[in-house]
Amino acid sequence: MSAVYALYSSPDAAQRAVNGLYAAGIAQADVVVMSGEPFEAQPFAHRDSATWLWYIACLGGFVGLGFSTWLTRMTELAWPLQTGNMPIVAWWPNLIVIFELTMLGAILATVLTLFVTAKLPGRLPKLYDPEVTNGKILVGVENPAAATLPALERALMAGGAAELKRS
């Protein structure tokens, strides 16, 4: 089969199962955890928390800043039209457009990075159970080696209050 997993009603039970899987020799990256809400208090939820998102947002802001500075200055010089005794390249009004596009750059960079790193949009993987959105936490392993299967099943059942499933 392609995956073995179990569903848990409480985050503590899920944590026990995850600990059991580590003890059975499964690497952290191979343990699949899914939940209907984020759990900040649990160690199993702390994986993959390091992110470059903040830096990328700032980078997006700088891209917006550069683009808008260039756009306003270039267009004002491309066909210089005198308006109301203001200079041709009017910095005060340009600052407003520059600010807006800077923020837009940061926002778009954030959302794009979110989609790319969270792999959205994506297909639902084979290892998924609708009970996840009902409040259960899924812990499982994809493509387990046949030899480790009994150890895995023991680890998953040791978490308690679980139904073991295969898919």
Binding site: Q82, T83, G84, P93
Partner: protein, 229 residues
């Protein structure tokens, strides 16, 4: 480089309104009809304002023709989102009809209320359509328009002078209002030429500008008797 300006002598103005009529005829300005005029939509690029001064029996009547002041620091220019209102090299405030999308911000910003909006497509019932000036475009609904100092006459004279390889003479260009003023109260010319009549009049001690404390730098000088209050 020319810098076009005008001077209007209020002590000579009789309020006859010939300038207003001439402006309508020259610039294809529609009459909006009594109902629209009552709603405040009359489109007189040049209007003659009438003021009563003093108490009976010392009442004086004063007329003031007001047209676009072609301000050098025009508040109507920076606010136009499409550059339909901008400043030309010769000091005129240009209004480009086909660039105008009708936000009417320029009209709000103008302290002189000299900008007008085409609320409907103008109608010239036959045979009035034969009277239209071919040198001036007819504006469609939704655009702003205003006095241009008869830029079509300025351009025609400039091109003619260039063709003849000579300079423009003072008084050669006359906008329709200047040309038709029965009291010769209005003068048009080049403010950059210190010898022109309009330059001379703009330096007159009788001269003042309309709303000049707003900093718009208008280019129309109004000459009137200065009284001690």
């Amino acid at each position: 480089m020319h810098k076009w300006g005008m001077a209007v002598d209020l002590d000579k103005c009789t309020g006859c309104g010939a300038c207003v009529t001439a402006c309508h005829a020259e610039n294809n300005i529609p009459t909006v009809g009594p109902e629209q005029a009552a709603r405040g939509r009359a489109m007189h690029w040049l209007r003659v304002e009438r003021y009563w001064e003093g108490d009976f029996p010392d009442v004086r009547l004063k007329f003031r023709p007001v047209m676009c002041q072609q301000c050098d620091a025009a508040p109507c220019e920076p606010v136009c989102p499409t550059y339909a209102s901008h400043h030309t090299a010769e000091g005129l405030n240009a209004q480009i009809y086909n660039r105008c999308i009708g936000t009417r911000y320029c009209a709000n910003a103008c302290p002189y209320n000299v900008r007008f909006f085409d609320f409907f497509n103008p109608q010239w019932p036959k045979p009035l359509h034969l009277q239209l000036n071919p040198d001036v475009s007819v504006r469609e609904v939704g655009v702003m328009e205003k006095c241009t100092f008869c830029v079509q006459r300025i351009n025609a004279a400039s091109i003619g002078a260039k063709g003849d390889k000579r300079e423009l003479k003072d008084g050669e260009i006359q906008p329709a209002c200047v040309q038709s003023c029965s009291a010769r109260a209005m003068v048009f010319g080049d403010l950059n030429d210190p010898e022109s009549e309009v330059s001379r009049l703009s330096r007159s001690p009788r001269g003042g500008k309309l709303l000049d404390d707003l900093g718009t730098l208008p280019k129309v000088t109004y000459l009137e008797r200065q009284t001690q209050v």
